[in-house]
C-alpha cells in the first residue's frame, strides 16, 4: 500500500494506492469512496481491509480522503457535496493514470455511494458500481441510479434499511442492471459498533466476488 498526495496545488487529496497482488493480464481499477462526517472514521478499517482483499483478487485499488476530510487538504467548511463528487472524478483519473486502467469500478459506502452513483452517471469510464448501505434520502439519489447504464450492486447490511432500500430502488430487475442484496454482519459506519474489533466479512467478500 502506498500513501500519497495527489490533485492540484490548491486542492490536495490524500490517497492510499493498493496495487493488484495477482497477475490478471489487464488492469482492473476500483476507487473506494468513504462515507462522510462521523461515519468516516469507523469505516476506515473496513475500507483498508476491503482494499487488501480486492488487491488479492487482482484489482488496483485507490481509497482517498475527500477535500476537507482526513489527511486531505482544506477545511470541512470549504467543502460541498458537488466538490466531493469532483474529488471522486479526480481519484478515478489518478487511478487510471497510476494503474494504466481504461475503466474503473466504484465502491461507495453511505453518502459515498450516492456520490459515486452520480459520478458514474456522468462518466463513460465507470463500468460497475457497488452502493454499500447507501443513503437513500431522496429523489436525486434514486434518479441518479435510474440514469445508470451499468451493472450496480446495492449492498445493505441492516435489515431495517434493507426494507427501505427495496422500496426506493427502482425495479429494473428485468434489465438486470441493479441488484439489491442484504448481507449479515456489522454496519461498519456506525460509531457504536466501532472498536469491537469485528469486520463485516460477508459484506467484504460479497463485494470482492461481485466485482470479480
Amino acid at each position: 500500500m502506498t500513501p500519497f498526495f495527489f490533485g492540484t496545488a490548491d486542492h490536495r487529496l490524500f490517497g492510499a494506492y493498493q496495487p493488484s497482488r495477482r497477475q490478471t493480464g489487464r488492469s482492473r481499477g476500483v476507487v473506494l469512496c468513504y462515507p462522510c462526517g462521523h461515519e468516516y472514521v469507523p469505516a476506515h478499517r473496513a475500507f483498508r481491509s476491503l482494499a487488501g482483499l480486492l488487491a488479492d483478487a487482482g484489482h488496483d485499488v485507490l481509497r482517498f480522503d475527500y477535500h476537507g476530510t482526513g489527511d486531505s487538504g482544506g477545511d470541512l467548511e470549504e467543502s460541498t457535496s458537488p466538490s466531493w463528487r469532483e474529488d471522486i472524478s479526480m481519484a478515478i483519473d489518478e487511478l487510471k493514470d497510476t494503474a494504466g486502467a481504461d475503466r474503473v469500478s466504484l465502491c461507495g459506502l453511505r453518502m459515498g455511494a450516492a456520490w459515486a452513483a452520480q459520478v458514474a452517471s456522468e462518466r463513460a469510464d465507470v463500468d460497475r458500481l457497488v452502493a454499500w448501505d447507501p443513503v437513500l434520502d431522496g429523489r436525486e439519489y434514486v434518479q441518479a441510479l435510474t440514469r445508470l447504464r451499468l451493472p450496480t450492486l446495492v449492498l445493505l447490511t441492516q435489515e431495517a434499511e434493507a426494507g427501505i432500500g427495496r422500496a426506493l430502488v427502482p425495479d429494473t430487475s428485468g434489465e438486470g442492471r441493479i441488484e439489491v442484496e442484504s448481507v449479515r454482519g456489522a454496519s461498519v459506519w456506525i460509531e457504536g459498533a466501532f472498536g469491537t474489533g469485528g469486520l463485516p466479512v460477508p459484506a467484504l467478500h460479497r463485494i470482492v466476488d461481485w466485482l470479480a
Binding site: P3, R12, R45
Partner: protein, 308 residues
C-alpha cells in the same frame, strides 16, 4: 516530495520502522527557516487512525505548522494505514512504534527534543513512553486516565441530589442503582461495567505508577500539560488533579486545564479551537531545554529535507 496543503503549511507522507510498516504524515511550515523546537508527535486514540477524532490531530498539526512547529501524526502498528509489526514478539508494540517515530524524526529533521500529544489511551501511552526517552521534553495529556477523589464523589452526588430525575428514579424504582439491587436479590451477576473499581479498565494506569511517572518526569524538567474535558467520566473539577496528588501542587512543570463544556472527542469546533489554542500557548511559552542540532551542511531542520 512534500505537498503544500495551505499556503503556509507543507505535509509529507512518512514511511518508517524496520521494515517500513509505519505510516504517518509530517506537517511543517512552508518556509524551512521558520521551524521551531521541539518536534511534536501525536499518538493514536484507541483504534482511531491518525487523523484523530473529529479530525483533531490534523487541525492541531496544521495550526502548529503555521506557528513553525514540525508535527508527526502516525498510526501504531496494525492501526489505520500502518501494517502489523513483523517482529510480533515485541512485548510492547506501542513503545517500539513511538521509539521508531522518534528515531525517524531524529534522522530526517535532526530533531533532538520531542513533545508527545495524546488523547485518552494516547495520553497514557505518551506518559509511559516519556519516562523511557531522554529526548522527550514535554507531554500533552488530553483526558488521561484519572482517579476519583472524595471531592469527585461529593460533587457528583451533590449535583444529583439537586436533580429531580435522581429523586424520581429513587421514588419509582428506576435507574442503575435499583437495577443492581434487583439483580442482587435475584442472584444475578452484575454487568461488567458496574464492577468498576474491582476490575482494572484496559486504559488504567495504577495510581502509584502515575505518581511515580509525574514525579520522575517533572524531576527531569519535562513539562506536562494535562487537559481534562467535561466528557471525562472520572473528572469533574479543575482542582481534581491536585486533589489526587497534592504533593505536586505548585510544581512549575505541571499545568492543568479543565474544559467542562468540551466532550471527550472534542466534537464541537469551538472546543477543538479551545484545546488547540491551549496547546499552542503552552508550547510557545515553556522553556523546553533540549534544542535540535542544526546541521551546518543543510542549513536547518527544514521540512523539505524530510524523507518519505
Amino acid at each position: 516530495m512534500s505537498d503544500r496543503v495551505r499556503d503556509d503549511v507543507q505535509e509529507r507522507i512518512a514511511h518508517f520502522g524496520h521494515p517500513k510498516t509505519l505510516v504517518g504524515v509530517v506537517s511543517g511550515p512552508a518556509a524551512p527557516r521558520a521551524v521551531r523546537d521541539p518536534v511534536v508527535v501525536v499518538l493514536n486514540v484507541g483504534v482511531i487512525h491518525r487523523v484523530g477524532p473529529n479530525r483533531l490531530h490534523v487541525q492541531l498539526a496544521r495550526r502548529l505548522a503555521r506557528d513553525g512547529f514540525v508535527t508527526l501524526r502516525f498510526d501504531f502498528s496494525g492501526i489505520g494505514d500502518s501494517g502489523p509489526r513483523p517482529d510480533r514478539v515485541v512485548a510492547d508494540v506501542v513503545r517500539q512504534d513511538i521509539s521508531d517515530a522518534l528515531s525517524y524524526l531524529e534522522a530526517s529533521v535532526k530533531a533532538t527534543s520531542f513533545v508527545l500529544v495524546g488523547l485518552c489511551s494516547g495520553a497514557n501511552a505518551g506518559l509511559r513512553f516519556a519516562r523511557l526517552h531522554p529526548g522527550v521534553v514535554g507531554a500533552v495529556l488530553l483526558d488521561p486516565y484519572w482517579y476519583r477523589t472524595p471531592g469527585f464523589y461529593l460533587r457528583h452526588y451533590g449535583r444529583r441530589l439537586l436533580q429531580w430525575q435522581g429523586w424520581r428514579n429513587v421514588l419509582t424504582g428506576q435507574g442503575a442503582h435499583w437495577r443492581m439491587v434487583r439483580d442482587a436479590l435475584r442472584g444475578d451477576e452484575p454487568p461488567a461495567h458496574l464492577e468498576e473499581g474491582l476490575m482494572a479498565p484496559p486504559n488504567m494506569i495504577p495510581r502509584a505508577e502515575m505518581e511515580q511517572a509525574v514525579a520522575e518526569l517533572t524531576g527531569r524538567g519535562v513539562h506536562l500539560l494535562s487537559v481534562f474535558t467535561g466528557g471525562h467520566e472520572a473528572y469533574n473539577h479543575k482542582e481534581q488533579f491536585w486533589e489526587a496528588f497534592p504533593r505536586f501542587k505548585g510544581t512549575p512543570e505541571i499545568r492543568v486545564e479543565f474544559l467542562p463544556t468540551a466532550g471527550h472527542t472534542f466534537q464541537r469546533p469551538a472546543d477543538r479551537r479551545a484545546v488547540i489554542a491551549l496547546i499552542r500557548e503552552w508550547l510557545t511559552s515553556k522553556p523546553f531545554t533540549r534544542a535540535p542540532q542544526v546541521s551546518p551542511a543543510t542549513g536547518g531542520p527544514g521540512i523539505a529535507r524530510l524523507v518519505s
